[in-house]
């Protein structure tokens, strides 16, 4: 990625032998830079040059695969610093830590229950971390075994003791857990242990400088299935290191071209949850917490969903008739778009007003009322078709529909096309409670 013809040319043999089909090495380099030739066409390129050119064409942040089976996940391949520049690619792996000193089965079962429905989708945590707090290798391996038997989530194995990691990998290695961590003292043995199973390995520094140095040593051993830990634990330091690592990676500083891990673990679960959310928004590939209580985890998963939503591709709900609070035949019919946020605003405020109602969502490819109107997707025609096709007026004993105040101009034509009375509602769904009070139930 991003290499110029001249930079590539420097790595070529400069024989100008034409065997690649190009008149000169330079011409071949230009073709490579333009993506119109493959390096394989030159029989004389050295292994070192091939390696350099391959890694130069690698993405800024490596794609790392974790786990096996249906809950396997990927991290990395991120390309931006701000979500509005494009989007964030791989949602942070929210990971709950279990100690090998506690009842592993009980906690893992609790973790398995952390399943939430948000805007019509299922959201869950991503991994279970097992920590070797006991300091005992066989106890650790047992805990890992118990965890593996009781959950489908990928595992994160936490121990600085190579023997404990090896024992745990014997149990769980085939399922590609994350190994935590290679540090200055143990990295050679840790690399060997992880390599044997091709398991992702966290490289842990004491700061950014020592992290970069250690990654290079690990890479020199031929291992690149890596995740980064700068060693920071304080909120402010983590935010700064995460930002710096992302910036460096995007500028192709290769030692930082991997996903990261951040530890939010805190004895105070509120502090822990707040930090975990902040680290999720600010670039952590994996974020680790202790709490398995839903009230602490739901906010993190919700924020992850929000921040990782593609700004260009909003989340949509199905285009259909939604029934709020068992509506009867005299209930109002509200028209909105199938942008999930628009729908949930209207549904939430209607429910909040304790008003039974029908909500009809017009298919606008998941964009908001005004956006869809501006884009010609929320029109008298689409509204009339949807109302007719979904048969919503058969459920009620009146001939009225309510449209959002923001598109009041649509009322005349919509009335004409549907033969219904079109009432212009408030501009904001927050105005619905007072609208119902004054204009519907009077």
């Amino acid at each position: 990625m991003g290499l110029t013809g001249l930079e590539i040319f420097k790595q070529l043999p400069k024989k100008n032998c034409k065997e690649c089909g190009q008149p000169t090495c330079l011409a071949f380099a230009m073709q490579l830079a333009a993506g119109k030739a493959s390096l394989d066409a030159c029989p004389y390129v050295s292994d070192a040059a091939r390696e350099a050119l391959d890694s130069a064409s690698a993405p800024p942040i490596a794609l790392i695969k974790i786990g096996a089976g249906e809950k396997a996940l990927e991290l990395g391949n991120e390309t931006v610093l701000f979500r509005h520049e494009k989007r964030f690619e791989h949602p942070t792996a929210v990971t709950i830590q279990v100690s090998d000193n506690e009842d592993v089965k009980a906690k893992v079962e609790k973790i398995n229950k952390l399943v939430f429905e948000l805007v019509g989708q299922i959201h869950q945590v991503s991994m279970v971390a097992v920590a070797n707090d006991s300091g005992d290798a066989s106890k650790f391996a047992d805990a890992v075994k118990t965890a593996q038997e009781n959950t489908a989530y990928p595992l994160l194995l936490i121990s600085s003791d190579v023997a404990a990691i090896e024992a745990a990998l014997e149990v769980a290695g085939a399922n590609k857990p994350v190994v935590y961590a290679a540090d200055e003292n143990n990295y050679e043995a840790m690399v060997n242990a992880a390599k044997k199973y091709d398991a992702p390995l966290v490289v842990k520094g004491n700061d950014l400088e020592s992290l970069a140095a250690l990654v290079e040593k690990v890479a020199a051993l031929g291992y690149k299935n890596l995740i980064l830990d700068s060693g920071a634990r304080e909120t402010s330091k983590v935010l700064q290191d995460q930002t710096q690592i992302r910036r460096q990676a995007l500028k192709l500083f290769r030692p930082f071209g991997y996903p990261t891990i951040a530890f939010a673990n805190n004895a105070d679960p509120i502090v822990e949850s707040l930090n975990a959310s902040a680290f999720t928004a600010k670039y952590a590939g994996i974020v680790v917490v202790n709490s398995a209580e839903p009230q602490h985890i739901l906010p993190i998963l919700t924020l992850r969903l929000n921040v990782y939503t593609d700004p260009q591709k909003p989340i949509a709900v199905e285009s259909k008739v939604y029934e709020i609070l068992n509506p009867g035949p005299d209930a109002p019919v509200l028209i909105t778009t199938n942008f999930s946020l628009s729908y949930f605003c209207v549904a939430g405020d209607t429910e909040g007003a304790r008003q039974p109602a029908y909500i009809v969502t017009v298919d606008t490819d998941g964009i908001s009322v005004l956006t869809a109107w501006a884009a010609g997707k929320f029109t008298p025609e689409t509204i009339a078709d949807t109302v007719k096709n979904l048969g919503v007026m058969d459920k009620v004993n009146h001939k009225k529909i309510i449209i959002p105040g923001g598109v009041a101009v649509l009322s005349g034509k919509t009335a004409e096309l549907t033969g219904l009375e079109v009432i212009v509602g408030p501009g904001e769904s927050a105005g619905l409670p007072s609208f119902f009070k004054k204009q519907w139930n009077q």
């Binding site: 701000f82 950014l208 909120t235 935010l239 700064q240 509120i270 928004a281 739901l298 906010p299 605003c345």
Partner: protein, 309 residues
């Protein structure tokens, strides 16, 4: 390979504003939020707790409980939120709403003055949310609060003229609201400043959504506005106001006392409000208008940690 720490060379910074009789300073950042290695954050983000001028109709029990003894008394309520550690008081003139008491400009101005006289922290005064009515009452409130250097809002495209003139005349700052749109924000800031109110006396309200309810739009707008401010766009360099409490306490996840699969309401609701706030803090928010005292405490603790160099 040594790590050459990447420091962006920002050419500009967020405007620094002063609020209240004692001159509380906000804004002035010359880097992205909490990136202390790169630039200055001379003033920490600040909080306000909301005080209603009448008993709030739609507050859940959990939110009313800490204020049970002061709910009908805005002056006592205001003193209480100061004791509870809010940096500012945000007085909401709900009684002026045509659906509630439809109180007159003179009535609400009297309340605002009584509250301002009872506290030494800066006062934020928020209208009833009906643009027309706010255009009538807020100029009268501004006059009554002369000398208090209050932060008054919210002004919109529809009502900014009368309120801007009054804020300018009586020495106050303004909150300018535009819905989640960077260009509308710039436009309103320009309209207001063209009437003579300097940009450093405006705070920008992007009409944030809560966690789970569109937080990502406001998050990205704030990031874009901060990048604009740091690269020299003065019309985006105003401090940002986040109406967190108002939005978070609309969410079922905060409001609903009884959803077993979400865990107990006490911690869940506080986290809903505080996570919304901390998320905006890392995107570039400046003033955080909260509702529950525990959220205020938790948020400030997060800011303490994030402000460490």
């Amino acid at each position: 390979m040594a790590v050459n720490i990447i420091k962006e060379r920002w050419t500009s910074k967020v405007a620094e504003s002063t609020l209240g009789p004692d001159g509380l300073k906000i804004g002035g950042e010359s880097t992205l939020p909490f990136m202390h290695f790169e630039g200055e954050m001379p003033n920490r983000p600040v909080t306000a707790l909301e005080v209603f001028d009448m008993e709030p109709a739609d507050w859940p029990e959990m939110l009313k409980a800490p204020y049970a003894d002061v709910l009908g008394d805005p002056v006592a309520w205001a003193k209480k939120v100061v004791d509870l550690g809010a940096d500012m008081v945000a007085l909401r003139l709900m009684s002026a709403h045509p659906d509630w008491k439809n109180a007159s400009a003179e009535e609400v101005a009297k309340t605002a003055k009584a509250v301002a006289d009872a506290i030494s922290v800066p006062l934020i005064v928020i209208g009833c949310g009906v643009e027309e009515k706010d255009g009538e009452i807020l100029p009268v409130v501004a006059e009554a609060l002369e000398g208090k250097k209050a932060l008054i809002g919210c002004v919109t495209q529809a009502n900014y003229k009368s309120i801007t003139a009054a804020a300018n005349g009586y020495g106050h700052n303004l909150i300018a609201s535009t819905p989640l749109d960077i260009n509308l924000c710039k436009q309103l800031n320009i309209l207001i400043s063209e009437m003579g109110l300097p940009l450093d006396r405006i705070a920008f309200d992007p009409l944030v959504g809560a966690l789970g309810y569109g937080i990502e739009y406001a998050y990205s707008i704030m990031e874009r506005a901060r990048l604009g401010a740091l690269t020299g766009d003065k019309t985006l360099a105003t401090p940002v106001v986040c109406f967190v409490g108002q939005e978070a306490w609309k969410a079922k996840e905060a409001k609903d006392p009884d959803v077993p699969e979400w865990g107990p309401q006490d911690e869940r609701a506080i986290l809903w409000e505080t996570t919304t706030a901390t998320t905006f803090a890392i995107a570039g928010g400046t003033i955080f208008i909260l509702r529950h005292p525990e959220s205020n405490k938790r948020f400030k603790a997060f800011i303490d940690e994030s402000m460490k160099a």
